[in-house]
Amino acid sequence: MTLALEVNHVSKAYQDFMIEDLSFSVPKGYIMGLIGPNGAGKSTTIKMILNLVKKDRGSIKIFGFDHIEHEIKVRERIGMVFDENHFYEDLTCAQVKKIIARFYKNWDERIYHNYMKQFQLPHDKKVKELSKGMKMKFAIAMALSHHAELIIMDEPTAGLDPIVRSEVLDILQEIVLDENKSVLFSTHITTDLEKIADYLTFIHDGQVVFSEAKDDVLEHYWLVKGDDSLLDQDRRHLFVGIRKSDYGFVGLTRDVEQVRGSLKNSVIYEKPSLEEIMIYTVKKG
């Protein structure tokens, strides 16, 4: 499998926060969702990929090339969408496009106009006059118009209404209709990824909790519900995270066979949502 992006053992230390030995990869032609709570290190990771933030250790390869050594070549092939607007507010869409287009060898005016039309964006409106959703769509149009093969999006759906959000997700799926294109997409809204993501990388406290195919994630994790008197020390270890209430416990496990062996049918087994997987993992036991 060819990899669009490889992050290998990357570390970065801040005074109060640390990214440690982070590794994951995005196979070509697929959508990778980067999930985790706010402050987990998603944005920093994306910034390190773009070299906006310098990594302390490790290597990052994009299409097999080192991201710093081949900086220019690599960036020609990346389309970046940030979480908030980064375009010049006082200029019109057309003016912004004119400024940015010059920097890309492969800028394709035809694609740009198609997207502007598809997203119903006005050429002559100032960026600051666009709604939040329109700004996001404009950013996407700009990121997709130079034949980028790796689209990186940092929280593109945050703060958007459900309709625009679903439109953005549609666009992502449209991108990977071309099997040469890949998407890396960070979000803390897991329902966005539940359906369309092919792979998931879950970051928490600057570390990777898991990085694997979404279908496998959803298959491996189980929620177990039951009477909390059943929980002894040994059994606790079978769970990734446990939440207790007066009425019983709910635990998240990756090893449902062991749990079944131990607790049999005295408890209820359910499939968790991604959100539940995230919450229970972060909460621990």
């Binding site: 020609e76 607007n85 375009f87």
Partner: protein
């Protein structure tokens, strides 16, 4: 590099228009050496301004994710200082000559060689000092320093403009032939410019965004 210059100019069209009016206004209303003030101010304010607009719009991240090297961004800023200086000078000379000819300028004076040389020197010296600060700290954090520096040379210019042949006043220098002196001073200034550029590149390449 050219693309970055075009970008900086495109985002500052309003400021440039303001400079045009400001130039005409200063010729008509101010009793100062406009030939020195306008080029210096346009070099400084437009360079600082481009960084300011970038930061206000949060677009530095966007620029940094373009297929560019960080050093290119730095070098283009140093280049743009010269271009804004040249533009400002051209503007001043054009309007100055015109307004003096018509006779509505406050100071009836055409541009002199010393005006060009002195203002260029000040610009270079000044840019050499503030650009590394901006590249190290970013626009917001370096605003105070930059503001102080804007005031300093402006005042210096006002003082200097009262002594049109300052160079001749410096006695010990009068023993050196004028052309050689100029050459020496420029060599020195461009060296400082170069060193400043070197530090700016190093600062900027180390920064996290």
């Amino acid at each position: 590099m050219l693309n970055l210059l075009i970008k900086d100019i495109s985002i500052q069209l309003k400021t440039i228009l303001f400079f045009l009016c400001f130039t005409i206004g200063s010729f008509i209303f101010l009793e100062v050496n406009v030939y020195m003030i306008i080029p210096i101010l346009s070099a400084i304010l437009l360079t600082v301004g481009s960084v300011g607009i970038e930061e206000k719009n949060n677009s530095e991240k966007l620029v940094l994710s373009l297929p560019l090297k960080r050093s290119t961004i730095v070098l283009s800023k140093y280049m743009s200082v010269m271009i804004y200086f040249g533009g400002g000078m051209l503007l001043a000379v054009l309007f100055g000559s015109l307004l003096v000819k018509i006779g509505i300028a406050r100071v009836l004076k055409y541009v002199s060689f010393d005006d060009v040389i002195l203002s260029l020197m000040i610009t270079i010296l000044y840019a050499s000092l503030y650009l590394p600060i901006i590249f190290k700290l970013g626009y917001k954090q370096s605003r105070l320093y930059v503001f102080m520096m804007v005031m300093l040379p402006s005042m210096a210019t006002l003082i200097i403009s009262d002594y049109p042949d300052l160079t001749k006043k410096l006695v010990w220098l009068s023993y050196v032939p004028h052309k050689m002196l100029m050459f020496g001073v420029f060599l020195f200034l461009f060296m400082i410019y170069g060193i400043s550029m070197f530090f700016s590149v190093r600062f900027y390449e180390k920064r996290d965004f």
